[in-house]
């Protein structure tokens, strides 16, 4: 008995060390120079926790554990080796796996304990299973949309919010019944099934540009469900990890929603995909100025400061390596080149930074919105590649615009603006961009990758 007691103690201390390492791990993520140390701390914490768990005296069946661990590693390695452009869908998929684990453990715990489940435990267990289930299907849907297996366009119908809220309300009502009497084993499958459906319905109305917010929110849900699991198993380590993950997802959701000018409740209740319903007004063909690669290269080469504004269009065209060549060509001529990154550029928080870092662009040249906006008035050329709504000055000036109030990159304040674009089609939100009709704006029509390639060639030749 004393032996078992002391093993339990050792396990508890090991978990404590792991929790401390997890916190250090996130602390070291604050800057690129210490971030890799953060990964090592996380790995060490995980190794300690898993090893300690294997010492648990109640474990009788090691073969199932071993097989499952190996199988998980076999699936995990390719998921760690995906292309950087595929990171958003990989992340969504891993939210789904995390939520699946939590929901399954919750379900098993219920059937092991029912009907004698204490009230508090039944409440957190219901929350664990509900959050886990809805995050599972929600994340699978998000991953499917990002991978373009599912249609990217938001699907909306009348009474959508009512349907979704009713689904959520019914599952909460069932959870309350279960808390009152945990013996209703036949009701339990409902708090799995209904949230599974809710998860699908929640993501149906969501389009590509809303993905950064949605992924962050699913991250918060996954974290919260893990914390709930920690309460059920009274595992303090799991509560800490879940709370950290949950607050991380929550902070990112708030940052993303602010960057898209959405309210807090709007985020919490998942009422996404509302903006694009507005204003696709009658369009008259307004005159724009366009330029060839040769002309544009001449202006870029003569500039002393250039700010490149990349958007998701750059990632779609796989233009980041060509952009790197342009960066090199201009830097060699003594031009000061920086990149302006809007918080919602790309399909998940920080996505654009990863793509540019992969193309070997130094991270100190990547500036976020607040840092770069004061620089635009002193900028000779702002070159917009595949970004649209985040550069639209209507967000500052036009109260009638659906994106009014959204924080934007003040590209229009620079001396010359160049926009690489396939044609004059409006952006995701279906709103015309005033920027394109300014006198100082030159439209560079063509595929982003090909056009940047032409610019590089012109600069090398000239």
């Amino acid at each position: 008995m004393t032996d078992a007691f002391s093993t339990d103690r050792i396990i508890e201390y090991a978990y404590l060390i792991s929790a401390a390492l997890f916190i250090l791990s996130l602390k070291w993520m604050s800057s690129p120079s210490t971030a890799r140390r953060g990964v090592w701390a996380g790995e060490a914490g995980m190794l300690i926790a898993v090893t300690a768990t294997l010492l648990h005296h109640g474990i009788v069946d090691y073969s199932t554990i071993a097989i499952a661990l190996v199988l998980g590693a076999i699936i995990g390695v390719p998921l760690g080796r995906v292309q950087m452009t595929a990171v958003p869908q990989r992340t969504a998929l891993s939210h789904a796996f995390g939520a699946l684990c939590v929901a399954l453990v919750g379900t098993a715990e219920y059937y092991l304990r029912a009907p004698r489940v204490p009230t508090f435990m039944m409440a957190v267990l219901s929350m664990e299973v509900i959050l886990g289930s809805l995050t599972f299907t929600g994340s699978l849907m998000a991953a499917g949309k990002l991978q373009e297996i599912l249609p990217q366009r938001p699907i909306t119908y009348k009474g959508q919010n009512l349907v979704n809220l009713s689904l959520l309300a019914i599952s909460l009502a069932v959870a309350v019944l279960l808390v009152i009497d945990p013996g209703h084993t036949r009701l339990f499958p409902l708090i799995i099934a209904i949230p599974l459906v809710f998860g699908v319905m929640m993501i149906v109305p969501i389009g590509g540009a809303d993905m950064p917010t949605v992924i962050s929110l699913l991250n918060a849900y996954a974290g919260l469900s893990a914390a709930a699991m920690g309460f059920v198993l009274s595992s303090k380590l799991l509560i800490v990890a879940g709370a950290l993950d949950g607050s991380s997802g929550f902070i990112l959701s708030v940052i993303m929603s602010k960057a898209m000018n959405r309210s807090f409740t709007n985020v919490l209740f998942g009422a996404f995909g509302q903006v694009q319903a507005a204003a696709v007004g009658a369009k008259e063909a307004r005159p724009v100025r366009s330029a060839t690669a040769e002309e544009a290269a001449a202006i870029l080469g003569a500039a002393s400061t250039v700010v490149i504004v990349p958007g998701y269009g750059m990632a779609v065209a796989q233009a980041q390596h060509k952009v790197r060549e342009l960066f090199d060509a201009l830097t060699k001529r003594g031009v000061d080149v920086k990149f302006a990154i809007h918080p919602v550029a790309g399909r998940m928080p920080g996505h654009m930074n990863v793509l540019l870092a992969e193309a070997d662009i130094p991270y100190d040249k990547l500036l976020d919105m607040d840092a770069i906006n004061t620089d635009f008035p002193q900028t000779d050329v702002a070159l917009v590649i595949g970004a649209n709504d985040v550069t639209n000055p209507a967000a500052r000036t036009d109260r009638a615009s659906p994106i009014y109030g959204m924080p934007i990159l003040d590209v229009d304040k620079s001396k010359t603006v160049m926009v690489i674009k396939r044609g004059m089609s409006p952006g995701f939100a279906g709103i015309d961009n005033e920027l394109y009709y300014l006198n100082k704006t030159l439209m560079l029509f063509g595929d982003a990758r090909a056009f940047v390639g032409d610019l590089v060639r012109e600069l090398a030749g000239g």
Binding site: I23, L26, K27, M29, S30, P32, A35, R36, V39, G42, E43, A49, T53, L54, G58, D61, T64, I65, G72, I75, G76, V77, P78, G80, R81, V87, R90, T91, S94, F97, G98, C101, L104, A108, I215, S216, N219, G223, G230, F231, L233, S234, L238, I239, V240, A241, L244, D245, S247, S248, P343, M348, G350, V354, A357, D360, P362, Y363, D364, L366
Partner: protein
């Protein structure tokens, strides 16, 4: 009952700590941050291991086994991709010794 209160304390304190620590993460690193927290969240594997290992019922062992597979794939994949991303972030200034 005391255990519940202690757990709630831990949850609230960890959430506040999380807010303070994560607020300081540069927007540059938001993608690796999310993949790292994802990997850390895979600590749920601990609960799955006990569930599968104790083998209290057939259902528990099966669900626990699947849960181990799901969370281990997150654990392994999450750490690999986070490290791959962070390796790519290079400064143009020479590194301080």
């Amino acid at each position: 009952m005391n255990d519940i209160v202690a757990s709630l304390y831990i949850f609230v304190l960890a959430a506040f700590l999380g807010f303070e620590v994560i607020r300081r993460v540069s927007p540059l690193l938001h993608t690796p941050l999310m993949s790292l927290t994802n990997a850390l969240d895979a600590i749920a594997v601990v609960g799955a291991i006990i569930l599968a290992g104790e083998h209290k019922s057939g259902l528990a062992a099966i669900l626990g086994g699947i849960a181990i597979v799901a969370s281990t794939s997150n654990l392994v994949g999450g750490f690999i991709i986070t490290d791959r991303m962070l390796k790519m972030f290079k400064s143009s200034k020479p590194r301080k010794p």
